[in-house]
Symmetry: C2
Subunit: 344 residues, 2 copies
């Protein structure tokens, strides 16, 4: 088992990779624990849950709403959970987002920990303390940044994951390799089949490297005022594609990375050879489908994202494989490149 | 003008007492500001508001709901407020509670400052960073602790306050004197008429003393794990009375202080003479009405509060005038004393 620590001004947090979640109780207080999960996870794992009351939400993004938070807070009250209580999230990104937010506002903050059940949340979403709910189509507009006491990533749990969810998570793993870990990139290049066979030992190693990198970034810049922005590689175009096409996050980010890679090459940050390697790895895992959205829609959605993020867009370029650089770009530069790319 | 600083692990905050709110713009950024207020304040002061967009809520406790937070977040989005935005609350406790919570979760936290318009919020509620909304009848169950950048207390604004709201605020001022400031207590004893005439200079001095004491307590114990509990003097019985009778917070706390004073005398923390002085000052401002709720209801409500607050009740006793002491008490001890008091 690997342990990775995050120390930020607000809290200490520990990510445990390869820890069997059946030994969870060592990490929990004896009383006052409530489990928050979704109905899918409940079906698969309920029998193995530790013996605490459970509040379950409907699976999927539609549960990320303030009205769900309100309902869960009512559930905690009914269970008599007070300021000494502990919320244990067992689930993927959505469950951890909801439970993390709830824990940071219920009675002005109670303890929490996560068992991260999807590859996407193990390699990315559950590390870093960002949580929140949506408002209409605007994602994560209401939330906080607060580290859980622990995040437990048990790769055995990935064996029950549907294929598309597994691949979607791989996309964020590849992103991490591109922006911060050349060795990880090479591991992924060289072990395609073992990864797709979900070799648990290999996955433990890959997830550990990804979490390790992310923990360094988050420790340095918890509130995303600088360095943390590099984690958005592929996300400027990717978000727009995700919104427009309604596809899974990782697949949209993969297309966004294909675009950002070509853009990085054009700007001279990547050699033609490195750009080819990135596209090749994305194709090796069937993450690209060449279905790009109309340029006018891309423009509208990027302007919309810009409104959310402030006056200029911090675009992330790959600078060779294993490093990234952030540049302020005008919307027109980003959309012009999109038009140019689509014409090819 | 008096300036009082609060430095906690999370933020720096500044309380300005006697600062004219018409000089507010010095404290604000030039762009990205949104004012949050209620319809009453809007009616009285709109013309004097600085020139920024306004989102207004219905006055009173019923606006402290997650659905109102959601609506306001939608309003901020429509106004194009991003992570660099600034929320300016202009109002009493309810407005500051809502706006403070919104600022701590909108886009995972944006800047905020308060113009505190009621005596209750100037002497107590707006200092200390607690914010939040209710769930049904359970108060402040969802919220955070986060200091605003500034709290501006302009006693001139108290001139438009209805009498009962003014008296309700005085009750918390007297509470502060009892638990922490003997000199303040004597000032209040000796200047009843000037206070009731709302002499601005005198009020500035009294509010400054109260804020000063609270800021020391909050700096020492932001998250209420020890010292901060003394601020709850009169609140154990007071909360129950407030819930049952639906009277204003300060009047309920005054009755709670009458009870806690008698209890403190019985426990040997207060002399008969000191207890008399406390009751006399509460009567001098017409804060007591001798209408106590049935003992069974008191018991039910205290058990309910206990559920919220954890396994034991930290009861606050006055230890002479100007000092307080917290003791863990069994529910039965607290309700037994209530029965005994009512028989007299």
């Amino acid at each position: 088992m690997e342990r990775i620590f995050i120390n930020t001004p607000s809290t200490k947090s520990e990510i445990l990779v390869g820890h069997s979640w059946e030994n969870l109780s060592e990490l929990l207080p004896e009383t006052g624990v409530v489990i928050i999960t979704d109905d899918n996870i409940l079906k698969i794992y309920r029998k193995k849950f530790p013996d605490f009351p459970v509040l379950s939400v409907a699976p999927g993004e539609k549960s990320k709403q303030l009205s769900v938070i309100e309902k869960l807070a009512g559930g905690l009250l009914e269970l008599g959970i007070d300021r000494t209580g502990f919320i244990l999230a067992i689930g993927g990104g959505v469950v951890c987002d909801i439970a993390g937010f709830l824990a940071s506002v219920y009675m002005r903050g109670i303890r929490c920990g996560f068992v991260s059940t999807s590859l996407l949340s193990q390699v990315d979403a559950s590390t870093g303390g960002k949580n929140g709910v949506n408002q209409g189509s605007v994602k994560n507009i209401i939330g906080t940044i607060r580290q859980p006491e622990f995040v437990l990533c048990d790769p055995e749990m990935l064996l029950t994951l549907p294929d598309d969810e597994f691949l979607s998570g791989l996309s964020e793993l590849i992103k991490t390799a591109i922006i911060g870990d050349r060795v990880l990139f090479e591991f992924i290049e060289n072990s395609r089949d073992e990864i797709l066979n979900r070799n648990t030992e290999l996955l433990t190693m890959l997830i550990t490297r990804a979490v390790n990198f992310k923990s360094i970034v988050v420790t340095e810049d918890e509130r995303e005022t600088g360095l943390r922005r590099i984690l958005n590689f592929g996300h400027t175009y990717g978000h727009a594609i995700e919104l427009e096409r309604g596809i899974m996050h990782g697949f949209a980010v993969a297309l966004g990375m294909e675009l950002a890679t070509a853009f990085s090459k054009k700007m001279g940050y990547l050699s033609a050879d490195e750009a080819d390697r990135i596209v090749r790895i994305l194709n090796a895992f069937n993450l690209l489908d060449n279905k790009f959205i109309p340029a006018e829609d891309m423009e509208k959605l990027i302007v919309h994202d810009k409104k959310k993020a402030g006056s200029s867009i911090h675009f992330v370029f790959a600078e060779g494989i294993g490093q990234a650089v952030v540049r302020k770009m005008a919307v027109s530069e980003i959309t012009d490149f999109y038009r140019e790319f689509r014409k090819k």
